[in-house]
Amino acid sequence: MVLVNLILILLVGGVIAWLAERQHPLLPRWIALITILFDLGYFLTYMSDLSWSQIAVVPNPTDAATWLFHYKAEWIPRFGISFELAMDGLSLLMVLLTLVLGAVSVSASWTDIKQRTGFFEANLLWTLAGVLGVFLALDLFLFFLFWEVMLVPMYLMIAIWGHEGRSYASMKFFIFTQVSGLMMLLAILALVMLNHSNTGVYSFSYFDLLYHQVGGDIAFYLMLGFFVAFLVKLPGFPVHTWLPDAHTQAPTAGSVILAGILLKTGAYGLIRFVVPLFPNEALAFSPVAMALGVAGIIYGAVLALGQDDFKRLVAYSSVSHMGFVLLGVFAWNALALQGAVMQMIAHGFSTAALFMIAGSLQERMHTRDMSKMGGLWQNMPRLGAVAMFFALASLGLPGLGNFVAEFMVLVGLFAVAPWVAAAASLGLIVAAIYSLMMMQRAFQGEPDEGRRLPDYGVREMLTMAVMIVGLIWLGLYPQPVLDTAQPVLDSLMQMVDSVTEPTQIAGLMP
């Protein structure tokens, strides 16, 4: 029930926040913050009961009892659909990330949102609930349901509280995700039907579908259906184009959630579903996926340099960074996968912070155009220093989380495909170019002495401190994260090994 409550708390909190606006327009943000912190606290109290030895248990994909938490209730038994939630180390990390960044995003919306605050915070909480559901659901039908649940409130957030081009951006976001979601739905249904024709049982359960090898051409197309849905969310080249628009137009809190959490659902899906469900097909497909990853890294970085809009720049840097996740997943060895997981978390922090900085600039200067900025360090030294920190994190400075992630992905990848790793490491150079250019254009250069801009206050510095500490911790002592994810990745790898031909996999193991 813990898992159900986690989601329920957010849903109910959303409704309360919505209603509370009638009492006072500033009430909803407090309710949202309290809801998320309560949810986090609730989760942590249950987590503190877990010991490392429990986490270290390699979860058996077919045995729900080996998972940390598991909940199952009948829902539509006729079609084998159940309300099945489960948590292992990987989802645990993702849930933590979601709740922490959720609190950060409430802080980002603190003064930013002025109209219909109640409905905004409600949407925010509902999105988080949907994301939690995605990370926890192990019934494919339920997974798809949550996949849609997180989409609609996000759409509303962009469409109602977005900036000047919000209707275009929100529609683009909606259509991209919806079309790709449709592909996934078709793939899910086809998978279930095939399973039914083989075993005579309808089941949407991950556990039932896992060892069921479809085989043949159809499996490849089913894999593609899942892959495309997750690639859009990731976002990978060339289906990333919704992201710059959506990020740029979304309100700050929306960008934070979008970049920090929503993109991770794509990466999570790749690790959780695409490769385990279709190991042979994914292996065959991996050259293409890796090429897309490298293309995303380079392309995102080049385009980031070409932008004038601060948020667009950060958005393209996301495209670039998430390319590493794609590489890590499809390199499919312990190091690269750990790197991908690390990148999901570290990128969540660094990009969320950069979007918050962009939002602060927009709030203070009423523009995101970097050609109208310059010398802001002089006006706002604290903001400048924070921005410098996250720019350095984004370019992969060792000692911060992003470096650990990218390095592990590349080391793992090098053992599998040295040339791809060499091409991807160009990303390290180009990341430096756009990150430093961003600092130059916004914060360095000739200051405008006439500008009076408020520097970061306590709330903002506190929020930033959370992410700074998080990144330094991930960069210098990532072991707890690695240990939490390791059993899950081990089990997934064992399972994939057991069904792929050993000759093929031999080259993948370091």
Partner: protein, 614 residues
């Protein structure tokens, strides 16, 4: 005592974090005490640890915690202390402390006093981590860390966009090298299964034969990192521009410590390089060509700091030459003496600039000999050491390099001759600098004199530059680190030539720039002379070339792609749909009769289909 090792980088780190957190709210006196004092503490601790190490004589290995561990990949946060590390640590904390002390006065009037010391302390921390690291990944952390601090300090006066450009250039160009180095790490880990330096060297020796492809490849990739950080061809272009930073920064980062990190890296991984003779040769050639290129460029520059920058590039070239011919000890020895005299020269140049209204052009100076006597003597001693005049510290180290280069079979004499040519040029340009700035007519009057906090470091560095050659070598415990060089000595003639060359250079500089007896105006003003001068002045046109080759195409690419051409595909899908909508909406006439009629026809068609008529 050895257990104190982690404290050495910790002091500057704490100080730096304190300075960053207080964001300029601390009084200047406290900032100065904290900034310089923390490095002083590190220096003292280094001394203590060094004494303890000398006593035991055994390398000391100290693990703090496991950084990350995934399967076999388990780099630690761990320090390794041996002779080489100790030498580097002494230079960093010792020279570093002097430079910090100098800075407390030099930067006194700057509004961002505490930011300056925050960065500078952070740099010392990162540099210490670099040299103390037990594995290549931690070394890489320090490596990138110093790069970032260099970026922050070069662009310290960020209000001027030119400084920002120089800072970015410094970071990005070295990042190119760093990426090569990262690839080298991937290769080493994939092949040898560890990044810990000592086990890695052992594994390499057992797995690889001398001359195999893999060690050559790995060493070349590491060399890529080294040339980037140490400003060697072809990645040297950032260093002259990096002079945009405050002068003590140039002294510390771009002369004494960070730019020699490449030398340290190669020396640290020398067991790998010994397995890869082609890579060794590449190191030597890179060093030699760079030293000649930079020396010739230094001959024609006007900016006092640029001259010193090119001379740094040239001197590091010598170190590379030494490493390339297997003269490990000589290379590190030159690193140390170079740190002394180049720090001295930069600080003296800084004092000149400080006292002369921020003037950089040497031809607007002159006659400062009597007006700034302390600076003059510092500069003279520094230049003498740089030119390797006999009995100065630079003489011993450079002589060692050249003689060992001569010993190398096949290429040896050629490398030696090239090195001599470089030495000649070095002597000419260093004394050109002295004669132009400190002799001749006075053109500008200094408005202040260096105070005690500037004079003391200068004097101490003077002493080190003069006598460093005598005591540094015996004290430096490098024998245990490197294979012993052969005892064979070349003939006295060769030695004599090596000694004479700098003196000849001094004489040439004297005749051209001071007495005027040797007039080269005609030569310079001739057409080829002008072209050569222009070519040299631009640093062999490397900036121009890179601008055309990389910078402009990349910027152009970003500019062309900025509008997101992928969207063209999606937008055309949208267009097609819209066209279809427009077409269909024509059927929506709003007329009742039209709808009724079309319904009737629709029903008729459906009925006909159902009844099988059609």
């Amino acid at each position: 005592m050895l257990k104190l090792l982690p404290l050495i980088p910790l002091f500057p780190l704490i100080s730096s974090v304190l300075l960053m957190v207080t964001v300029g709210k601390m009084p200047k006196r406290l900032v100065a005490i904290l900034g310089a004092g923390s490095v002083g503490l590190s220096a003292v601790t280094t001394l203590l640890v060094g004494l303890a190490f000398m006593e035991s004589g055994q390398p000391h290995h100290q693990v703090l915690w496991t950084w990350m561990q995934v399967g076999a990949f388990s780099p630690d946060i761990a320090f390794y202390l041996d002779g080489l590390t100790l030498v580097m640590m002494s230079v960093i904390t010792g020279v570093g402390f002097l430079i910090h002390l100098f800075s407390t006065e030099f930067m006194e009037e700057d509004a961002s006093y505490s930011r300056y010391f925050a960065y500078l302390n952070m740099f010392v921390f990162a540099m210490l981590v670099l040299v103390m690291a037990d594995n290549l990944l931690l070394l890489y952390l320090g490596w990138e860390g110093v790069g970032v601090c260099s970026y922050l300090l070069v662009g310290f006066w960020y209000q001027n966009p030119d400084n920002g450009l120089a800072a970015r250039k410094a970071f990005v160009v070295t990042r190119v090298g760093d990426t090569a180095m990262a690839l080298g790490l991937f290769l080493l880990f994939t092949e040898l299964g560890t990044l810990d330096i000592q086990p890695m060297a052992a594994a390499a020796n057992s797995q690889w034969q001398v001359g195999d492809t893999l060690p050559v490849l790995a060493c070349l990739l590491l060399l890529g990192g080294a040339v980037g950080k140490s400003a060697q061809l072809p990645l040297h272009t950032w260093l002259p521009d990096a002079m945009a930073g405050p002068t003590p920064v140039s002294a510390l980062i771009h002369a004494a410590t960070m730019v020699t990190a490449g030398v340290y890296l190669i020396a640290r991984t020398h067991e790998l390089f010994l397995l890869a003779p082609p890579a060794m040769l590449a190191v030597a050639l890179v060093g030699l060509i760079t030293s000649l290129m930079a020396a010739s460029t230094a001959l024609v520059q006007h900016d006092i700091k640029r001259i010193l920058a090119y001379s740094t590039i040239s001197q590091i070239g010598y170190m590379f030459l030494a490493l390339g011919v297997g003269a490990w000890t000589a290379g590190i020895f030159h690193l140390v003496t170079h740190a002394f005299f180049k720090a001295l020269l930069f600080l003296a140049a800084g004092a000149v600039i400080h006292c002369l209204h921020h003037e950089h052009n040497i031809f607007k100076m002159g006659g400062l000999r009597t007006r700034l006597p302390v600076v003059f003597w510092s500069f003279l001693i520094g230049s003498a050491a740089l030119a390797a005049l006999p009995l100065t510290s630079g003489f011993f180290s450079k002589d060692m390099i050249l003689l060992q280069a001569y010993e190398l079979p096949t290429f040896g004499p050629w490398l030696w001759a090239g090195g001599l040519l470089g030495a000649l040029l070095t002597a000419i340009y260093s004394f050109r600098l002295v004669f132009v700035v400190f002799f001749g007519k006075t053109q500008m009057e200094p408005d202040k004199q260096p105070g005690s906090r500037m004079a003391v470091p200068l004097s101490l560095l003077c002493v080190l530059s003069l006598v460093g050659g005598f005591f540094a070598l015996p004290l430096v415990p490098l024998e245990s680190v490197f294979p012993v060089a052969s005892d064979h000595h070349p003939s006295h003639l060769i030695e004599g030539i090596s000694i004479a060359i700098p003196l000849i250079g001094l004489a040439i500089a004297y005749f051209i720039y001071l007495s005027g007896q040797l007039n080269i105006d005609g030569l310079v003003n001739s057409a080829p002379g002008q072209m050569l001068k222009k070519f040299w002045f631009s640093g062999w046109a490397m900036d121009w070339l890179y601008d055309r080759l990389w910078v402009r195409p990349y910027k152009g690419l970003a500019y062309i792609l900025r509008g997101e051409w992928v969207d063209v595909i999606y937008n055309s899908i949208v267009k097609v749909c819209q066209q279809l909508f427009v077409g269909l909406s024509h059927t929506q006439t709003g007329r009742l009769r039209w709808y009724a009629t079309s319904m009737v026809f629709g029903v008729i068609v459906v009925l006909a289909l159902l009844l099988g008529v059609i």
